[in-house]
Point group: C3
Amino acid sequence: MPEDRPQPRHLVSIDDLSLAEMQALFEAAKEFSEDLTAHADRCPGRIAASLFYEPSTRTRLSFESAMLRLGGGVITAADMSVSSASKGESLADTVRVVGGGYADVLVLRHPSEGAARLAAQYSPVPVINAGDGSHEHPTQTLCDLYSLWVERGRIEGLDVVLAGDLRYSRTIHSFAFALARFGANILCVPQGGFELPDYVMQRLREEFGVEPVRANASKMGDLAAQSDVIYMTPQKPHQLSLFTDAKGWNVSHVDAVYMTRPQTERYAEGEGQGTEYLQLGKSALAADSLRDAVVMHPLPRRDEISAEIDGDPRSIYFKQAARGVPIRMAILAALAGELPILDAPPAAGIPTYPVVEGGNPCPNPNCISNTETRHVGAQVALASRLPLRVQCAYCSQRLPVGVVGCRSSRRFHDPASPGLRPVRPEQMVFFVDAAAAERAGYAAASAAHPV
Amino acid sequence: MPEDRPQPRHLVSIDDLSLAEMQALFEAAKEFSEDLTAHADRCPGRIAASLFYEPSTRTRLSFESAMLRLGGGVITAADMSVSSASKGESLADTVRVVGGGYADVLVLRHPSEGAARLAAQYSPVPVINAGDGSHEHPTQTLCDLYSLWVERGRIEGLDVVLAGDLRYSRTIHSFAFALARFGANILCVPQGGFELPDYVMQRLREEFGVEPVRANASKMGDLAAQSDVIYMTPQKPHQLSLFTDAKGWNVSHVDAVYMTRPQTERYAEGEGQGTEYLQLGKSALAADSLRDAVVMHPLPRRDEISAEIDGDPRSIYFKQAARGVPIRMAILAALAGELPILDAPPAAGIPTYPVVEGGNPCPNPNCISNTETRHVGAQVALASRLPLRVQCAYCSQRLPVGVVGCRSSRRFHDPASPGLRPVRPEQMVFFVDAAAAERAGYAAASAAHPV
Amino acid sequence: MPEDRPQPRHLVSIDDLSLAEMQALFEAAKEFSEDLTAHADRCPGRIAASLFYEPSTRTRLSFESAMLRLGGGVITAADMSVSSASKGESLADTVRVVGGGYADVLVLRHPSEGAARLAAQYSPVPVINAGDGSHEHPTQTLCDLYSLWVERGRIEGLDVVLAGDLRYSRTIHSFAFALARFGANILCVPQGGFELPDYVMQRLREEFGVEPVRANASKMGDLAAQSDVIYMTPQKPHQLSLFTDAKGWNVSHVDAVYMTRPQTERYAEGEGQGTEYLQLGKSALAADSLRDAVVMHPLPRRDEISAEIDGDPRSIYFKQAARGVPIRMAILAALAGELPILDAPPAAGIPTYPVVEGGNPCPNPNCISNTETRHVGAQVALASRLPLRVQCAYCSQRLPVGVVGCRSSRRFHDPASPGLRPVRPEQMVFFVDAAAAERAGYAAASAAHPV
C-alpha cells in the first residue's frame, strides 16, 4: 500500500518462513525464555494491535503478554465482529486504518479462511495470522516445533506420534506438514474414523515425498491398541524398506506424543458417537516405546489427557503453552525489525494471479474471498504446472480443475495436455469440466492439441 | 469536585478550544507524526481510561494508541453499558471514581447527547468527549482540520466541498462549523433530500455570518451533476457580490472534497430509497475544478468512494485516519499538562444557569438530562439575549421559547420585548407559549411591558 | 505446581495476611498515594492478568491502574466466561497456562465461591481474589480498612457503624470480621429484616469473642430511628459491663458510618418490599454522635446516600474508592516480590484434608467444588476440633456434621465424644446424622466409646 516504504514481512503461513529463519526464531525464543521479564528494552514505543474477529482469549493473551514483555504496547479489539465490521467496513479498510499509525504490527484472528492473506495484501505494517478459520495458525505450529526443539535439541529425524482426531484438527495438519518439512517422521494414531484426510496425505506425498507404511505398534501399548498405526517418513522409500518387514515399520522408540482433543464443533450429526475417545493416562504411558516420549497437547484439553499424568516429567503440555510467549516475542521482535533474523525480502512463495474472467473459482464457502464483499478479488495460486495444482490464493483450497482455457486463443485443454505448455499462467482460466468451458465460450483445442 | 485543585481543562466541544490553541495542537501533532515511536518519554506513569458506553472500536484504538505512544498507560472499559451502569450507578459517580486515582484523563463515549458535559462537571481530571450521541465528537473534527492543514498549509480561505448525506452526519455539521470559524468557504454538494438541516444553516448564519449563494458547478463534473450546489462563505456578502453573477458563484478550483457515507441508521422508514447515492470515482475526480483537490472521508466508507481511486495521490482518507493518532497525542499530552499549549483557564464559553423552576425544558429525549436519572439537574445556556437563543447546557439543542417568565415578578414577556431587558438570566423561566406560562402561574406583563 | 520454585504467596482471603502484614501494606499504600505517577520503576517487565469470569469493571480498572502505575503491564480477559471456559477448559488448566509465562500475577474474579482457592492450588504465580461469588473480596476489605486507618490513624478501638442491608452484603461480613480482628467495635444499624446472619454472629463470637449488647442510640438521630442498634465489641464482657446500663451501651461518639446498598439481586421474591430503605442525608448526619464520623460506602450507591452530603467533608466515599489504587499497588508489588513486606511462608491457615470417601460434603451449590467438573476434589478444613467445626476448604461454608466416622475402625462418633479424640483428621468422615453413617457402612461406636 504505502508507496514510500518497502513491503513488510508478514507471518500468514508457516510457509512464509524458511527453515533457517525458524531455527533463528527458536534460538531467540530460548534466549528470551531465560528471563522473560528482562527484555522490556527491546520494543519501546512499538504497538501491536489485536484484531480478533472471533474470541480466542488464550491466543490473544499470549501475544499481548509477548508484546508487553518486549516493552511494547498493545491495543485490543477482542471482538471486532460487533464493531467496525457491523458498520459495513471491509477488512482491507480496517487493516489500512489500524496499520496506518495506530499500530506497528497487526495480530489478526478471523473466522474466514484466507483472511490473514487478504489483510497482508493491504496492511502497511506486518500482519501475523493468529488463526484464520480452519486454515492456518502459524504461531501455534511454531510454538509446537519450538517446544519439540527445546525438549529434543533438534526436529529432523524425530519420531512423533500424532494421536486423536486427526481429521478435523487444523493444528494437527499444520504440525504434520511442518514436521515433514523439517524431516521428522510421523506416526499416525488416529481415533477410529478420524484419520488424516486425503488432501493432507496427498500434500505430504506430493510436496515432501512422504509415503505412509503400516507400522507394528506392539510396543506402543494401550495408546495404539484400538488404532491402525501408520508410519510416514520423508526419507526415501528404498531406504525405508531396509527397516520394515511384513509386519510394517517397527515402533521401538517414540520421541513425542502429540495428543489432540475431539473437534466436536466440526462433527457432522452423529459423528463420533458410540465410540470412546482415546485417553492418555498412566497405563498408556507405561508402554515400552513411550518411556522417553514427551507428551504434548495444544490445549485446552478435555478428558483425552488424564490429570493423573499431570505430574509426570514427560508431560510437557503446560510448558508447551508457556513457550508460546517467548516464541511470540521472537516473532514480534523480528517482524517489528528489532531482531535481525529475517531475510529482507520474503521467501519466494507460490506465484499468484488475479482471476480476470468468470466468477470466483474458490469452492470454499468459508473463504474470505466468498465471505467478504468489498475489496477482495478472486486470486489463484499455481502450486505446480505438471501435474497441475491450482489453489485459492487466500484459503489454499485446491480448485477442482477439469480443463484449462486460454484467454487469448479461447481454446481449452486437458491439464496434462502438451497443448497447455505454451500458455502463460496469466492467460489461464480454470474450469470444472469441458461443459463449463464451453458454456463460457471456449472451444476444445484442435486435434494437434487434443483435449 | 476536589476542593484542593484547580478545575481541569476538558475537551467536550470543539468550541472549548480557541483558534490559537487548535493551531498549537496542529503544530504539536505534526512534530509527533515525524516519528510516532519516539515520544514514549512524554507521559510516563500517566493513565488514560477509555469509558465507552457504546462500542466504537476505531475511536477507542486511536486514543489508546496515542496514549501508549506517549509512554502512558491505558485502562479500558469497552462496554460500560453492561457493567457499572447495570448496577444503577450514575455517570457522575462513575467519573468521580475513575477520575479519582484510577486515571489521569477520561476518554468518554456515550450514546446520550450531553453526556460528556455532565461528566466534565463531576470529573476531577480532564474529560475528552469521544462522541456523545449525535452531538459532538471534537477529536474527529480536530483530526479533519489537522489533515486539511497538513495538506494545504492553512485552513482560512480554502474552498471545501462537503458531499453526500449532509443532513444526518454529525461529522459534517461539526466540520462545517469549524470551517466557518477558521474562515474557510464551504461548497455543499448534498445527496438529494439530504441537505444541511435548517438549524445548522441558521447557526452558520447567526454565529459566523455565513450566507449561502447558488454556485455554478459546471466545472465540478459528475460529482455535482445531480445536486444543487450551494456556496457558503464567512466573507462579507458585498465582497462576494464582486465574484458572483446570475449563475451564482463560479466554482473553478476546489481544495478538498469531504465525502460522507449515508447515515442509514438514522433514516426514517423509506427515506433515501429509490435514489442512488453519490459515488466518487475516477470519472468524478477527472473534473477540471478537482484536479488539485484532496479527497477526505471520516471512514468507515461503504461504496461512496470507489476503490478505483484508492491509489490516486489525491485520496488521503487513509492518511487522514492515521493522523488521528498524532492529533490525539497532542490533545492527551496537553490535557495531561505535559504540553504547555493550553491557556490555564478554559476559554469563556456560553454562560449556563440551573433550571430551578418547572421541569427539564430540554426537548431532546436522547439528551443525558433526560436519559440519566441520578446526579443530573436541568441547565440552560444563554447563547444570545437579543435575539434570544437559549439551549440545553448539555446537548446544545435549542429550546423552543415562546415567552419568558420572570421568577420574581411572576410576569411573562415576549422574548424580544423591552420589558425582558432588566430581567437577570437567573430569574428567567422559559415557556413554549403564553398558555404554558399561565398554567405555571405567570401573568402577562403589564401594558407598559406588553407581551 | 512447578517443582523448581517455592509455592508463591496468594491473597485469597483477608485471613491470608497477618495484622502486621496489613499494617505494612497500609504504610506502603500511603507512600504510593503521595504521588501515584511516581512509581513506574517498581515493576517494569512484570505482567498482571485480569481473569474475570463475570464483569466487574470497577474492580478490574482499579487493579489494572495499580499495575500500570507500578510500571508493569496488564493482559485482560474481561469476560472469560465466553472464551476458554466455553471450550470446556477447567479453571485449574487456565491458571496453569496463564500463570505459566503469560503473567506474573493473576487477578481472578469468579461467580463461584472458592474459585480463587482452587486457582491458588494450581497457579505457579500469585493469585489475587478479586471476588469469588459471595465469599470473599479481600482487596475491597483491605481498601476499607486502609481508608479507615488513613482517616483515623488506627483501627483498634474505633466505633464503626455498619448500616443498611447487613444480611446479604459480602462486603459487610468481611469488613465486620476484619474490624473484630483489629479490635474495633461494631455498631449494627440494620435495615429492618436485614440483620447480620446467624453464621456471621456465630463466627464473630467463636473466633473473636465478640458479644452483642443492646445499644442506646438516642444520640444517633435519624439513622438509628427505625432500627434496633446492636453494639459488638471484642473486649471482655466484664469490662463492658462497667459502661452499660439497663438501656444498653450508650452511643456517644461514632468514628465511621459504613453504609451499604440493598443487595436486591439476592433478595427472595417480595423481600424488602413495602419498607423504605435507610438513607443517609443532611438531617441524619446532623446527629450529635455523628459530628465527627466519616461516611464510607463501597460504591456503587443508589439512593442510600443522598447527593446532598457529597460535599460534606465527612463524606469520604469517593476518596475511599480512590484509595483502592494505592492499596492494590501495595498488594501487587508485595506479591510480585518487589516490596519486601510479606513473610516468606504464608501465615499458617486452617489445616485442610482431601475427602477420600463419599461424595462432596459441601452443601453450597454455588461452591466451585460443585460447579467445576474437572480438576477439583472435595476438601474439608478443620477449623476447630472441640467444639468440632468443619468447613469446605474452598468456600468456607460450615458442614452440617451430626456424627463423625473413622475410616479405619468403621465406627462413628458424636462430634463431642471422647471416643473421637484419638482419631486423626485424615481418618475422619463427616455425616449429617447417624442414619447417613449407617448407610455408608459405619457402625455406632461401642459402649466404651458411646455415640
